[in-house]
């Protein structure tokens, strides 16, 4: 059931430089995964695949220590079990990097003989993942994983690895990752990546951290319990019956008695709202009925009638005892108000005004746009999470790598950023190129000339990324001749043929863009050394229109 790729976490636009990788040729992502599994039996950690080059690189090393670069059209797949920070069952498959015992003592390297001579070594147990000094469970110990310790007086001790929520759930099941796929009333769940019978916006690709796999029950939106859309057309969604874990929930971070960030960790006793209303007790359903009860949210400290933020609101709040005011925010003193103000004041006033377009390749863009073309939020340049990188202020001191603003430090074609989506390393930003259009009044004679206006398939120029380009240019930007799309010589390829992509206009050897590449049409080349290259297709001139593209930039205002 399912795909071999289900065991991997996908990151688009990422490439690893690793001398220990093995290179193959593969026709698909799945084939590359199979290579990784068979050729590197038990040690396959990750693989890289590029669909255009059909290059498959498999890795048996821990990718956490590898340097990752950004590269268009490359996809990195990392094996899920090597990324899990929790244990399933006894933790025999735990391959995380915890290297301390529950008492905080450093673990001994499995391959060395001091201070303790180990019975379990990488040589004797090659499939047990005994690498470095990470906690493991080679002997299926019911209390595992464990490790030999660096303390000469303690030969071994267990590690404090949290349980993955597979069989049961803690809290409200936000981290439930099990495979129950039926609801409380026995309805079968709809697959998250399907829009039938119910259309919805919980798209797995938009919510990668929510693990919306197959049709398994999940809690991506702060419900009291995991749920799913049902396959019954008359029932949109329903809760699932996931048992509560009997083990204690993961230890929460210590609470605060002041406001830091959005106050999700506020555990103080203020119980009055900003307008002076008294808070309703969380366990009470009067005067307001609600689902934010202590039973539904056992890990959110919904005690008494204290202000809390159990649902990622912008600050702590409560239901009020005023019948006409359902809920209100509370005024909680800031943990460090002066510091927050200083940060805000540090940003020059000019910088807070977003530039809405970039000139040239955008290397001079100094605006505050911070979202990518697909709507993902940018990662701050000085952050290494979720993506490690070397585009730092030290490396690029003149590139104005401030906050998480879109920039072009490396002479790319336009501003970009690393994204906060752990599965998409980087993307171009949602910015348009500045255009200076001369405004003229329409002439009456234009009205008769309607044939000029709508051209669905321009022949010699392209709109946008040229996905609809159907012209006859058959040379790359560097002058190489294009290979015929139906030919397998000199470059064999199973993707992007007239048969696999009948609507992409893959005729003869004309430049096309069957994969919607941001940089425009491309082709396989007749040069055996160069698998593919971009073509240089001119942009269509103004006078013809593209739907949805205004000639005058909108403000895109969203302030209240």
């Amino acid at each position: 059931q399912g795909s071999i790729l289900d065991g991997y976490v996908k990151t688009e636009g990422a490439w690893l430089l690793n001398p220990k990788k093995q290179t193959y040729r593969a026709n698909s992502h799945e084939e590359c995964a199979e290579r990784c599994e068979t050729e590197n039996k038990f040690t396959c950690r990750a693989f890289l695949f590029t669909s255009k080059d059909q290059q498959c690189l498999t890795l048996a090393e821990n990718t956490k220590t590898s340097v990752i670069f950004r590269r268009t059209n490359a996809v990195l797949y990392e094996k899920r079990i090597y990324l899990l920070k929790c244990k399933e069952g006894k933790g025999v498959n735990y391959r995380g990097t915890e290297a301390k015992t529950r008492e905080g003592v450093q673990c001994q390297n499995w391959a060395v003989n001091t201070p303790h001579k180990p019975n379990y070594t990488p040589e004797k147990y090659p499939n047990a993942g005994l690498e470095e000094n990470y906690c493991r469970n080679p002997d299926h110990d019911p209390k595992g994983p464990w490790c030999y310790t660096m303390d000469p007086a303690t030969r071994f001790d267990y590690c404090n690895i949290p349980e993955c929520e597979v069989e049961c759930m803690h809290c409200s099941g936000e981290n439930y990752r099990g495979v129950v796929a039926t609801t409380v009333s026995g309805l079968v769940c709809q697959h998250w990546n399907s829009q039938q019978p119910h259309s919805h916006g919980y798209l797995p690709e938009n919510l990668p951290e929510k693990d919306l796999k197959m049709n398994y029950c999940r809690n991506p939106d702060g419900e009291p319990r995991p749920w799913c859309f049902t396959t019954n057309p008359n029932k949109l969604w329903e809760y699932c019956d996931i048992p509560r874990c009997t083990t204690p929930p993961p230890t929460p971070a210590p609470g605060r008695h002041c406001l830091s960030g959005s106050g999700q960790d506020y555990r103080g006793t203020i119980s009055v709202t900003e307008s002076g209303n008294t808070c309703q007790h969380w366990s009470s359903q009067s005067p307001h009925r609600h689902t934010h009860t202590p039973e539904n949210y056992p890990c959110k400290s919904l005690e008494e009638n204290y202000c809390r933020n159990p649902n990622s609101e912008k600050m702590p709040w409560c239901y009020t005892t005023d019948r006409s005011t359902r809920w209100e925010y509370c005024l909680i003193p800031s943990c460090d108000g002066t510091e927050q103000e200083a940060v805000a004041a540090d940003v020059p006033e000019q910088a807070q005004i977003a530039e809405e377009c970039y000139e040239g390749n955008g290397m001079t863009y100094r605006g505050t746009a911070s979202f990518t073309i697909s709507g993902k939020k940018c990662q701050a340049w000085n952050s290494m999470s979720p993506h490690r990188h070397n585009k730092t202020v030290l490396q690029y001191p003149n590139a104005d790598l401030r906050q998480n603003y879109c920039r072009n430090p490396d002479e790319d074609s336009r501003p970009w950023c690393f994204t906060t989506d752990p599965h998409v390393r980087w993307e171009y930003c949602n910015l348009r190129k500045c255009s200076y259009v001369q405004v003229t009044s329409p002439k009456p004679t234009q009205e008769a000339n309607l044939g000029e206006i709508t051209l669905q398939f321009p022949r010699n120029c392209m709109y946008g990324n040229g996905k609809n380009y159907r012209g006859t240019i058959a040379k790359t930007g560097r002058g190489r001749t294009c290979q015929e799309w139906s030919s397998q010589i000199p470059h064999s390829h199973s993707a992007f043929t007239p048969l696999t992509d009948p609507r992409a206009g893959l005729v003869r050897n004309y430049c096309r863009n069957p994969d919607g590449d941001m940089n425009g049409p491309w082709c396989y080349t007749t040069d055996p050394r160069i698998p593919w290259e971009y073509c240089d297709i001119p942009k269509c001139s103004s006078g013809r229109y593209e739907c949805g593209k205004a000639k005058f930039t909108p403000k895109l205002c969203s302030q209240r």
Binding site: G516, C557, S558, R560
Partner: protein
Amino acid sequence: IVAGCISHPHSWPWQISLRTSYRMHFCGGTLIDPWWVLTAAHCLERSSWPSAYKVYLGLHNESASEASVQTRDVEKLFKEPHRADIALLKLRRPAIINNHVIPVCLPKENDVLGGKKVCYVTGWGETRGTGGDGVLKETGFPVIENKICNRPEFLNGRVKKHELCAGNIHGGTDSCQGDSGGPLVCMHEEKFVQHGVTSWGLGCAQPMKPGVYVRVSHYIPWIKRIMENN
């Protein structure tokens, strides 16, 4: 539009003003093709005669006589046959496409929006004292998943499958009376795609009461069929 801001002139070149034959604005609409305008069916309740309506294109200031404006008579009205709040107007003469008048893109059939995607609405409707009366205003807010929007504290089950909700949870900005029929557009691959037709709401800009828009992607087959057959 309540709150939001006054738009840059002609930055929403698909926005039309639907007017009575006496030139009074009462609804919005969207140019989707030189011959066709998409609007709300409830905007056509005042008359079933096409001659009762006029379409103003390329307009920014409602009352000024701008050189960019094109006016068109309506040749035919088409209301969605199952009483959804969406309708098509065929113009008597096609709009001239220029820098001020450009059709919007339509979504693919049954295309869904990912949660929290920020989209924009525009119109000359009521501002409820927030300024900008008479000029085209815009505002942006996220789309809210129907499952959330139908919770008791939001719209309590009123939102149908063929509709979508959008707004800020705290209210403050919204579309309002007079914006009906206009577009809710979202950026996709550097283009604006119309995902909603402004339809209804409980008040305007109230907390927990987002605006409701007809989900255009549900009606693509109908739109195509009407346009091809007419």
